[in-house]
């Protein structure tokens, strides 16, 4: 039966003073699949290890269902928490065949050996490995080992499943297929799942909700759509997928988060500024320094002389991805936009127009103290531009001029 998980003000302080978890509070509903997303060192593995009882918390409380697993007075060891886990390195015992690895998790159920084997065989069949049940881990491929680890985690029907970056050791194709299998299996089992990863695409594809960790703090929890469209900070925006960032000053003010705003981007020519539209992610005063975080979907490539072009850029790279081309666009002064989509192959070095969708341009207050880079004058579109006018941007990108017609 799926269990509810509650974390209340959980802290984990390692000897030596490393605060791995800092006041983490979170409630995970029965049957929910929560993905914890964070970079290396953000505390996500520590949080998982505290949940399963391998690590002791330094403060706060962890509850699973009606039982307190850990608080200031109590620490339930892992074997008494009645949960299961898929480890990053799978942790399959090399001296046991696949069936024995899976059947191990059933010992706690008080079943006979025959019952355990039957159940393990059934679970191996569900992950497509019945024929390989008598193989040792080193006789299985990486994907097969991962499936055995998943079977071991699901076979006992525990109310909670923990997954510690189970796909990080696999190749891209296998990772995608197994991600779908994991999602299907855990949802079919109805188990409450906490899954950690540093891959935002994996997180968004799997999660009912996503929690973002940064330096031991849980900075935002929400559905993938909420996290993507309304990140609470520049860090979350950056970590959940950006094409690039532009820095400028707010024209007018934003009274509330979500309001449309206009941002002036400085250029190398005094008195000239590029203007883009964005959505404020928090109340912002008039003239405030802001950074505009651009989602890849917000960056659209148009002809350089199109009236829709807000900026000009040079195509630095174009990678075919099946549906079209993911492009890297150089605006000059070291500013680049990645993941800009084009159906047609753009010539490398061609000048193109850039149109920014306001819905995917997210304006945050800019706390950085470094100087704001100025766009070269050539990045500004005009009705008639000569090659001479385009020189600054080309020099800035180190590329040679090509014809504008990039299709």
């Amino acid at each position: 039966m799926p269990e509810r998980i509650e974390l209340e003000h959980v802290r984990k302080l390692y000897p030596g003073g490393n605060l791995a978890l800092d006041d983490v509070s979170l409630a995970i509903q029965p049957g929910e699949l929560l993905v914890l997303l964070g970079s290396s060192g953000s505390g996500k593995t520590t949080l998982l290890r505290c949940l399963c009882g391998i690590e002791r918390i330094s403060g706060g409380r962890i509850r699973i269902g009606e039982r307190t697993m850990a608080d200031d007075r109590v620490h339930l060891p892992p074997e008494r928490r009645d949960l299961a886990m898929v480890f990053q390195d799978y942790a399959l015992w090399p001296h046991m065949v696949a069936r024995d690895n899976v059947a191990f998790a059933l010992r706690r159920r008080g079943m006979t050996r025959a019952q355990r084997h039957a159940a393990a065989d059934a679970m191996l069949a569900r992950v497509g490995l019945q024929a390989l049940r008598d193989r040792y881990p080193n006789e299985l491929s990486g994907g097969e080992q991962q499936r055995v680890a998943l079977a071991r985690a699901l076979v006992a029907g525990t109310g909670v499943l923990l997954c510690d970056e189970p796909l990080s050791n696999l190749d891209a194709d296998l990772r995608d297929r197994l991600r779908i299998e994991i999602a299907s299996l855990v949802r079919a089992a109805g188990v409450t799942t906490v899954y950690i990863t540093h891959d935002q695409a994996e997180a968004f594809a799997l999660a009912d909700r996503v929690g973002v960790l940064d330096h031991g703090r849980l900075v935002q929890v929400g559905t993938p759509e909420e996290i993507y469209s309304s990140p609470c900070s520049a860090f979350v925006a950056r970590f959940t997928g950006l094409s690039g960032a532009l820095r400028g000053r707010l024209v007018g003010q934003a009274r509330a988060a979500g309001e449309p705003v206009e941002v002036a981007l400085p250029t190398s020519a005094p008195g000239h500024a590029a203007h883009v539209r964005a959505r404020a992610m928090a109340p912002l005063r008039s003239g405030a320094a802001v950074q505009v975080m651009l989602r890849p979907t917000a960056v659209q490539m148009v002809d350089a002389d199109s009236p829709e072009a807000q900026l000009l850029a040079v195509v630095r790279d174009a990678a075919f991805n099946g549906r079209g081309y993911g492009c890297v666009l150089a605006l000059g002064s070291g500013i680049e936009l990645t993941g800009a989509f084009s159906r047609r192959r753009p010539a490398r070095g061609a000048t193109v127009g850039v149109r920014l969708e306001a819905s995917g341009a997210l304006a945050f207050a800019d706390d950085a103290t470094s100087p704001v880079p100025s766009l070269p004058l050539g990045a500004l579109p005009g009705a008639a531009r000569s090659a001479r006018e385009r020189e600054p941007i080309l020099e800035a990108t180190g590329m040679q001029a090509l014809d504008d017609d990039w299709d």
Partner: protein, 588 residues
Amino acid sequence: MAVAPSPLPVGRPRSARAGAQRRGLPALATLGQTAFWVVLVLIILAPCAAFLVLAVSPRLFDQGSSYLTLQPLAAVLTGQTAVAIGNSLWVSAAAAALGVAVGLPIAWLCARTDAPLRGPVTASMWLVLLLPSWLPSLGWVRLVQLDGVMYRLGMNLPFITHAILGPAGVVLVLGLRNVPFSFLAISAALAGLGQEFEDAARVHGASRLGALAVVGPIIAPAIWSAIAIGFAEAVSDFGVAATLAYQANFPLGTYQLYAAINNFPPSFPTAAAMSWLLVASVGIPLALQARALRGRSYAVLSGRSRQATRRHLGPAGRALTLAAFLVFALVALGVPAFGAVSGSLLGDYGGSFTLTTANYSAMLHSSSLTDPIVRSLQYGALTASVTVVLGYTAARFLTRAKGPATRLLDFLLLAAVAIPSVIFAAGYIMAYNLPLLSRLGINLYQTVGLLLVAYTASSLPTNARLLVGSVSQLQPSLHDAARVHGAGAIMAWLRGVAPLISRPLLYAWLLTFSAVFLELPISQLLYAPSQPPVSVAIEDNLSNYHFGVGTAQSVLAVALALGIVLCVLGAYRLLAPRGWLRIGGPRR
């Protein structure tokens, strides 16, 4: 893929019946660590420390007039003792290098090729370990001394006599004794090293030799362990120092130290001062080891490792390998075996070479001659069992915990290897004879209990060193996975970890058993009255000119120990589950 909910008859989890563990109680791990340190302090640190303190404070133990003096330390840095210490240092370094130079290629050939006689080579390693160092040493002496067997057989080769009865002979005998340590440590590391590392090197353009150069650094912990053990074993060896080196008039530290105690009047402060220098000398390989391995991770053993495959040797390779194995066996075993066996088949007196079995008959019909063998078997088994538990615990501390306590343990265990057994035993005599202990009701001197504790304490450092290599290769997630999936701490270890290190644990047990079975210096000084171990009984017979019976006892004891080793290894191969046998052994 079917995604229906689990149809399993899921019962009530055991965890629901179990009560919560209170955080207020001291953690079991902390208690265990504390108990472990208490044991270490009582059996290693306190006796050794007492003896070392004696060097600077003889008055404290009624061995002099000063409570604080550096005179004994200054004295041993001059004259014959300084020469002996210097000799010990360079001879030990050369012996450690020789041990690795011979042990590494043999270990690789046995682990990674289809070389002939792999089984017998492994057995020969155990045999070399079984032999106390004085036995091969006496064999060489008896062979090459001027009135020895070589000359009686008509071979007049004085240059061989001069070579063997000198520093070269000492390095050779000590180096050959180090080969099994290198072989076992490196074999265990090679067994845990998957094929993928060599494959990766070959795929990326390395030749066979180049691939070995890549893999070499991965087994660096084992090589450094072998060097450290080899150096420490050679520095602390007494058997060669008292026989071959003594005959060659080539003084070594341990013999000078023994002489300081044995000469009249005995000078315990001088012996203690020499032990300071020997213990300090162990810092050299330890510092080199720490410098070489600092900041690196060598965890390679996991469920994802691929078993190594054996390389097929061509006819020339097989012939060369066979020749090399035979030369090793002849030099390391043939000579000492010749000495012992020929002695046991000759009468005690007379100059003839008439062979007789009378010595064996006499021994088998006298319980006073067989009882010591049975007694030592019991001592060896008991000590080995306790030592393996402590050794594994120490290895875990050394590989998992970081910090000053770990570094202290590391130094303590390695330094203890370098303490000559005779000094170790002398430390026990002093510490457990202190009036304070008698007042506390602790009267262990001249009891079997103290002898067993001393055996354990002297075996623990080497045992822990050998296990560190394998324990460092264990992925912690294997134990964690067992805990998370419902096993208690003990069951998680028994089912998830123990099978992976069962082979190294077995080797460690056999090594300790063999060493204790024929141990001499500690036995001689600490055995309980009227209950001599076999080594003491042999020594008594030889010193009383009962050469035949004494050597027959030696031969029988060695044969018995070898038989037990083979039986235990055979039983493991027959009885251990198939999955256990896959760990630590390449695909056959």
